[in-house]
């Protein structure tokens, strides 16, 4: 039985007020969840004490699923029904999956109309990458809810800094499907910096060097008074610890003098041997090598120096990417005061040395490099959910890849450039190409290349009903809006006539709103009235939240920012909402809630203006500078 916990006198928080928040590192190979338990920040283990959850899901013929270690163990004998490395498929279209699919054992089904690629698994089931990720998230959430004894109020999920809109959207969809409330998608490097507490006191530029199993990422962040700005990101999507293993495996093959063709099984065995050798060399100066892989035998020793020579070209590639990122960030090497190491492959001493040498400082590696991202995400989740009231931490992110539109000739016109701070909104004007043109195809793309065909296609929509004019006379205003998670929505308006078209950019291979709802309903396996009861409860909870927020705002700023009449009008809407609160029709409650929200739009706007104004005024310059 778990022991009852008692907090220190005077420090006790009302247990009903303290919310359960967690940080999730949804990784390619492994995933983790972290939270504060009993006041202590930790990654949460499963019942067997394992913290890392292999990001592997196996689909059984009976319709059940296995997630994590058990799925990984069974993967070899049932690879066709087992999905691993699903992160590589998130937000990816048909073409990408065709390329990636060749390396994966699964059967892919691609919709004729270019929809999201699906994976065919046992019993004829078809699952999307989003659903696979949702299963991993659910397994992590279940672990947290058991550990924290209650449902999670909110989570922060980390994504690579270079994830494009489609990949971020897919990650958020997966969280919705897992019934999780996402407080924020957080960039992995930012999370790592937060874990080291670099937000408190430190000022300057910090580098995050993340060398995982198969990918390398380098990010530069500027820290100042608790604010993190991502200055630049870079890396190599085909460089990681697996390449170190391969370098050792190839060395063994060449040294052994084995001349026959290496079979797939032999190579797989050699890679496992190589990995063990590499791991031992993290602490030992030399390791005995004794290989016996189906006819290939070799015995020798590998010293750390010899190993360092083998992997030197790989490490040099990562350093080159670092140099590039420093340049992109437009900072001097001397400005970089710290380097954080993330990813299991940074346990290799030669990596630590090379990184320290390049950045002229001792790399930070005191926190387990496999867990550091999840821990940072948990810290941020705790702040966002409201458990830390006076916290000054604010994470400012940038757009990882430029956003643009297709113009004549298949060229991509950039509307928002990469590394622009988000949230951001930007309007750009376009015009018609032909006389009498009445419709325009708006094709939204993301990427740095000049040609549309080299960029990622995010969405296409049509603006119709443009009044016929001579070519070049119509003015089409296209508005891009990117939120704090890096998610985009686009609208287009013909400025003369006011004809409008709008899309939330849902990539063509993402999930539609209806699909998500259907999946959610199916996953609950509720009877119809249960669904109704649930939506009624949700409507009430939402309405209470909006009402409380308005009442709270009124009590703080009502007298100062509103006239007597305005206050009375808002009060009338609150009373009207109260009157229907006991209704059994969710729609009634929602309607009144929306009316109240609309009636307070002006008030909310004035409050925002007021708080922004007072952020700078009322403080002397000296105070601000401090």
């Amino acid at each position: 039985m778990a022991l009852l916990q008692i907090t220190e006198p005077g420090q006790a928080l009302d247990p009903h007020q303290r919310k359960r928040a967690a940080g999730i590192d949804l990784g390619t190979t492994n995933s983790l969840i972290a939270s504060y338990r009993g006041g202590e920040l930790m990654t949460l283990p499963d019942l067997d004490g394992e913290h890392l959850l292999p990001s592997v899901v196996r689909y059984l013929s009976g319709g059940g699923i296995e997630v994590g270690k058990v799925a990984l163990t069974n993967a070899r004998q049932d690879s066709i029904n087992t999905v691993s490395s699903v992160k590589r498929l998130m937000g990816r279209g048909v073409e990408d999956v065709r390329t990636l699919g060749e390396q994966l054992p699964n059967t892919f089904i691609v919709d004729e109309d270019g929809g999201m690629p699906l994976i065919e698994v046992a019993g004829g089931q078809r699952v999307s990458p989003v659903e696979v990720s949702a299963s991993i998230l659910k397994a992590l959430a279940n672990r947290a809810e058991a550990s924290l004894a209650g449902a999670l109020d909110g989570v922060v999920i980390t994504v690579p800094a270079y994830f494009d809109d489609a990949q971020r959207q897919a990650t958020k969809d997966a969280a919705r499907l897992a019934n999780l409330n996402v407080l924020r998608l957080l960039n992995e490097p930012t999370a790592a910096a937060v874990a080291y507490g670099l937000d408190s006191g430190a000022e300057g530029v910090v580098a995050i060097y993340d060398l995982g199993g198969g990918t390398f990422d380098i990010s530069l962040l500027r820290l100042n008074q608790g604010v993190f700005e991502v200055l630049a990101t870079g890396g190599d999507s085909a460089l990681g610890g697996d390449d170190f293993d391969q370098a050792i495996a190839e060395w063994i093959i060449s040294e052994s003098g084995y001349t026959e063709k290496i079979s797939v099984q032999q190579f797989r065995g050699l890679m496992t041997d190589a990995r063990a050798i590499k791991e031992q060399l993290s602490t030992a100066d030399s390791v005995a090598v004794n290989i016996q892989e189906q006819g290939l035998t070799y015995s020798s020793t590998l010293t750390r120096d010899a190993f360092n020579d083998l992997v030197a070209p790989l490490i040099a590639r990562s350093v080159k990417a670092c140099r590039r990122a420093v340049r992109d960030a437009e900072v001097a090497l001397d400005d970089i005061f710290s380097v954080v190491l993330v990813g299991g492959s940074t346990r290799v001493p030669a990596v630590v040395d090379a990184v320290g040498q390049f950045f002229h400082c001792q790399p930070l590696n005191s926190i387990d490099p496999d867990r550091v991202v999840a821990l940072g995400a948990a810290i941020q989740a705790n702040v966002l959910v409201g458990n830390k009231s006076d916290d000054e931490m604010l994470l400012l992110d940038v757009l990882p890849l430029s956003l643009g539109l297709e113009t004549i000739g298949g060229l991509a016109e950039k509307v928002i450039h990469r590394n622009t701070a988000i949230p951001v909104s930007k309007a750009q004007e376009f015009t018609t190409y032909k006389d009498g043109q009445t419709a325009m195809l708006i094709h939204v793309v993301q990427g740095e290349r000049e040609l549309v065909s080299d960029c990622r296609s995010l969405a296409r929509f049509e603006l119709r009903g443009i009044p016929p004019m001579v070519a070049g006379a119509a003015k089409i205003g296209v508005l891009f809006q990117v939120d704090a998670d890096g998610l985009l929505s686009v609208s287009a308006t013909e400025l003369g006539s006011g004809v409008q078209a709008h899309v939330e950019v849902k990539p063509s291979y993402g999930l539609s709103e209806t699909e998500i709802t259907t999946m959610l309903k199916a996953s609950f396996e509720y009877a119809a009235q249960d669904v109704e009861a649930r939506s009624l409860t949700e409507a009430r909870v939402d309405a209470e939240r909006v009402k409380d927020a308005v009442i709270n705002a009124l009590s703080i700023d009502g007298e100062r920012l509103l006239t007597l009449e305005e206050r009375a009008a808002i009060q009338a809407r609150i009373d009207a909402l109260d009157a229907v609160m006991d209704s059994t029709r969710g729609r009634d409650i929602t309607n009144h809630m929306e009316t109240l929200a609309k009636a307070t739009d002006e008030f909310a706007a004035r409050r925002m203006d007021d708080s922004v104004r007072s952020a700078l005024s009322g403080k002397s310059l000296a105070e601000v500078e401090r």
Binding site: L183, L394, A549, M608, S611, A615, V624
Partner: protein, 174 residues
């Protein structure tokens, strides 16, 4: 919400070309601490929507005031002058530009040995830019036509500086 407010008002400073960048950065962070959507992570949709709009405006304002060229263009816009795409420029200035470009090409042909000369070239170009900025400060707002001409020239030099950067990357094989 008052999204029409100009960026100088938003950052509570007098409109003008001279900006203390360190102070601007501090003000930017103070503003974002108030308005960023993360402050409303558990708030209502309405709060999140307004926060996103205000945060976007603060970001745009910071970006505009931070960069000298963008700042100069913005100041002209505030004085109802729209920048032209194909302005007519002083022939003397254009001649100098052609010479500068030829010099840069020569340096590029020298490969890695040209790097020290490229550094000198960059310093020289930056000095030209500083001169143009001083020209803008002297002309704005009393003589808007002159200020506008200075901006067009600044655009040329900025383009040149970004080409210097590309050339350096090419030489160093980044």
């Amino acid at each position: 919400m008052d999204l029409k407010q100009n960026f100088f008002e938003l950052f509570q400073r007098e409109p003008g070309f001279d900006v203390d960048l360190d102070l601007l950065a501090i003000q930017y962070r103070e503003l974002q601490k108030t308005a960023h959507p993360d402050r409303f992570a558990t708030g209502t949709d309405q709060e999140k929507r307004f926060a996103a709009q205000m945060a976007a405006k603060i970001n745009e304002g910071y970006d505009t005031l931070k960069h000298p060229l963008k700042r100069a263009i913005y100041l002209l816009e505030q004085s109802s002058i729209q920048i032209e795409y194909n302005p007519t420029l002083d022939p003397m200035f254009l001649m100098e530009q052609i010479e500068l470009r030829e010099e840069m090409e020569d340096i590029g042909d020298a490969g890695e040995e040209g790097l020290p000369r490229l550094d000198e070239f960059r310093l020289k170009t930056k000095a030209v830019l500083a001169g143009l900025e001083a020209e803008f400060v002297g002309a704005y707002p009393a003589s808007l036509g002159k200020a506008e001409q200075a901006v067009y020239k600044m655009q040329f030099i900025h383009k040149l500086l970004s080409e210097v950067k590309l050339l350096e990357e090419k030489i160093l094989d980044y």
